[in-house]
């Protein structure tokens, strides 16, 4: 299945939802709700709450994150917001500010 790609000059102001994954090289303000993985690349800037299967951040994400499998903040990445995910990986050099909740049992 193909992922959606948001290119680096693209700004989306609103909501993105879907069954596919999402690769973000541009800017998204609003909300992201996908059933696939969200990959925020170095140039990606999210000011959005994200709900996805997995979230990988190499750029900047300001917002709350809920992932059903895992969240990874890469060395160049930054998350400011609360993260709820059963697994989380924060690389050396990554920036993070917020709460972490690893209990996804409902």
């Amino acid at each position: 299945m193909a992922n959606s790609v948001i290119g680096s000059s693209i700004v989306i102001d609103g909501e993105i939802s879907g069954d596919e994954g999402l690769i973000v090289q541009g800017t998204i303000k609003g909300r992201v709700q996908v059933s696939g993985g969200v990959f925020v690349e170095n140039s990606g800037q999210l000011e959005a709450d994200v709900e996805a299967e997995s979230v990988e951040v190499g750029g900047s994400l300001v917002g709350n994150v809920v992932a059903s499998s895992r969240v990874e903040i890469k060395a160049e990445g930054k998350i400011v917001g609360d993260v709820k995910s059963p697994r989380i990986l924060i690389a050396d050099g990554a920036l993070f500010k917020g709460n972490i909740d690893m209990d996804v049992g409902r």
Binding site: G7, V11, I12, G14, E15, S17, E20
Partner: protein, 175 residues
């Protein structure tokens, strides 16, 4: 990392404004507005409910909204479009379904070609060939354009947002 072309994948819905300075391919859905300094392509199953401003636009799916392009607007045979088209050049392939007003830059006309406000205020009934009321599903009636084949248009439950979207025509109907 190589710059990947922007793609809105199938099953993905973008609800809000999209703007940018690159080419975008839409295989999913966009609702809201699109403003691009680039080329917009739509796949067959794609749907856009938005006014689109772009350098050029290729439509193969459903688009409800006005399109303004600097270059070419091209409706392929699988396209269904309701809305006004404004561009330097408009190409409509055989089989496309279309309803709206087309303005090609540089073509002089007597009627006011921009904005629907002028027509609405005109008292003269412009209700020329509308047998049924608001949801006239056959686009062939709207424009003397390269006649889009009604057969293809009716195979899909026509242009659903037709009733609410048409500014010029439906204004008369409500009276």
């Amino acid at each position: 990392m190589a710059q990947a072309p922007t793609v809105i994948a199938a099953n993905t819905v973008v609800s809000g404004g999209l703007q940018g300075a690159e080419d975008v391919e839409v295989l999913g859905r966009i609702q809201g507005s699109v403003q691009l300094d680039g080329h917009l392509t739509m796949g067959k199953d794609a749907r856009i409910d938005a006014d689109v401003v772009a350098t050029s636009v290729e439509v193969e799916g459903v688009l409800v909204g006005n399109i303004t392009a600097k270059g070419i607007i091209h409706l392929f045979s699988s396209a269904k479009v309701i809305g006004d088209l404004t561009a330097a050049q408009v190409v409509i392939d055989d089989g496309a379904a279309y309803r709206g007003m087309i303005t090609m830059e540089g073509v002089e006309g007597d009627k006011a070609s921009s904005g629907s406000g002028t027509r609405r205020s005109a008292p003269a009934p412009r209700r020329t060939t509308r047998p049924t009321s608001r949801t006239s599903k056959r686009p062939a009636q709207a424009e003397p354009e390269p006649d889009p084949k009604p057969a293809k248009a009716e195979s899909e439950p026509a242009l659903p947002a037709a009733a609410g979207k048409k500014k010029k025509v439906s204004a008369k109907k409500r009276k």
